[in-house]
Amino acid sequence: MTPEENFMRKIEAEEKIEPKDWMPDTYRKNLIRQISQHAHSEVIGMQPEGNYITRAPSLRRKAVLISKVQDEAGHGLYLYSAAETLGISRSEMIEALQTGKAKYSSIFNYPVLTWADIAAIGWLVDGAAIVNQVSLQRTSYGPYSRGMIRICKEESFHQRQGYEAMLALAKGSPEQKAMAQDALNRFYWPALMMFGPHDSESAHSQKSMEWKIKRETNDDLRQKFIDQTVPQIEVLGLEHPDKALKWNEERGHYDSSDLNWDEFWSVINGNGHCNRQRLEHHIAAHDEGEWVRDAITAYNEKKRAKKAQNAA
């Protein structure tokens, strides 16, 4: 059996591909692209939510938000490590992010304006992420799959706390309820777009499905999310943002409005409120941290030299 045949045999037999196994170069590249994009999304995602840590309206919410953002940093770490098993370094990935070669989820280019946006992000954005990540627990690459299993546990906690924060607002004062509705109206559509373009337009989908990097199509995952969100909005007592939403008995799913893909591409291509801000923030923090990283290197070298001197 050639290495290639053996690789395909494993994929078909649902065996995981491990870092030292032979894999096609395009499989490797495809994974690096997807995992690093996922890692960058976790890291950039710290900004919109971090933006409200200092303004959280109660000490309990402040603590929950800090621990959520901290989890995201942790997810970023697992994912960078998973990508590193494919032969790329964290600093290479960070450079690709900062020069715009690597992408992050476009949802974070939308501005977080009110406290309800924080709730909506937990509920809808993490909710959409989980639908995708649950599916990725079965991805063919071992380290990515194991990372996803761990991440899913924490994400479902995030979604629950986001929904619970939303519920508090929806059942609160008229102003709080209006804030909740406004956040839902703004974040619902971008959350649906998180699943990516229609399958017919998705550049990487077909090969990723064949290799079982992706296990379900963008449109199927999106449908799952649309369906699960309907009763959640009902419980909140808010208006559904999609006026064309209708249960389709035959399909067993909700039919919904077409998404505004022009807006999707426009935001990805730099016209979101926060595209420049997110990258500038990341670059500024990274640059400001340079003297700190240099200090660690210098300190460690001094210690090593001293140790060598003592040993001599």
Binding site: V43, M46, Q47, G50, I53, T54, R55, A56, P57, S58, L59, R60, R61, K62, A63, I66, S67, V69, Q70, A73, G74, G76, L77, Y80, W115, A165, A168, L169, G172, S173, E175, Q176, H281, A285, H286, E288, G289, E290, W291, V292, R293, D294, A295, I296, A298, Y299, K302
Partner: protein, 254 residues
């Protein structure tokens, strides 16, 4: 509990809560601004510990006040003139060296203070201290390591760290001041006599700074006033930001 002691304990729990929330808030300002991802996580951890302490102290204060207020009323509904935190904790986050030096001063302070508070006759204060001791042990390990690495790292990191030590030194004297309230509680075996702790603090800080090739400043200036609500200009800005959402919606639940 006599009325005088109850009132003093309420004031004391509020002070300790104010210290925790203000420092916790300042640390939280670092999240997503750290020099690398692991530090964002560490800042999150330390900040969570302090917010947790604040909640416990305020909850106890609210219980003693028994006037219908809760932890959030203490944190969000008092202005800077009513806050009783130590000035050191309200200083803006500054650069990484500044925050780590402040943290070292704070961590050594709690390292000497908490083992005393654990022995408090007040069971609630003792229980909070007992939980906090474990956290502080980890905090100090981290801030000590950082100050060593920054002090004895590059020329630039050394310069920045020494500058931070010098800039913050004058705010550390207040950590060891006593007033009537705290004296009453110390005499009763409820509060800690912090005036007895400066030597131990100074010794530990001096050892660490010296190992980090840094100079311990002369005691040439000292700024005080946190415990009577006479703050630096920084606290007002901090609280404005912290309280804006809560205060914009009076009486709401979150």
């Amino acid at each position: 509990m006599s009325d005088a002691i109850k009132a003093a304990t309420l004031e004391y729990a509020t002070r300790l809560g104010d210290d925790s929330v203000v420092l916790g808030h300042r640390i939280s300002e670092w999240i997503s601004f750290g020099p690398f991802l692991e530090e964002d996580i560490a800042y999150g951890n330390v900040s969570l510990d302090y917010i947790g302490r604040a909640r416990m102290f305020y909850t106890y204060a609210a219980e003693l006040a028994s006037d219908g207020r809760d932890e959030d009323d203490f944190a969000y509904m008092r202005n800077d003139r009513e806050y009783r935190n130590l000035l050191l904790f309200e200083m803006p986050k500054g650069d990484f060296a500044y925050s780590q030096v402040r943290q070292l001063f704070a961590d050594v302070y709690y390292t000497v203070l908490l083992p005393e508070l654990v022995q408090s006759k007040d069971e609630t204060l003792a229980a909070i201290a007992s939980k906090a001791i474990k956290e502080t042990k980890y905090h100090l390990r981290r801030s000590r390591d950082w100050v060593l690495r920054l002090g004895d790292g590059t020329e630039e990191s050394h310069k920045r760290t020494q500058k931070a030590v010098d800039a913050l030194w004058g705010y550390t004297h207040e950590l060891f001041d006593m007033d009537e309230t705290e004296q009453l509680l110390a005499d009763e075996g409820i509060g800690v006599d912090v005036s007895q702790l400066r030597d131990a603090w100074l010794k530990r800080v001096t050892d660490i700074l010296t190992e980090a090739t840094l100079t311990v400043p002369e005691d040439s200036w000292e700024v005080k006033g946190g415990r009577i609500g006479y703050h630096t200009e920084n606290l007002g800005h901090m609280l404005t930001e912290m309280q804006i959402v809560h205060r914009s919606h009076p009486g709401c639940k979150w």
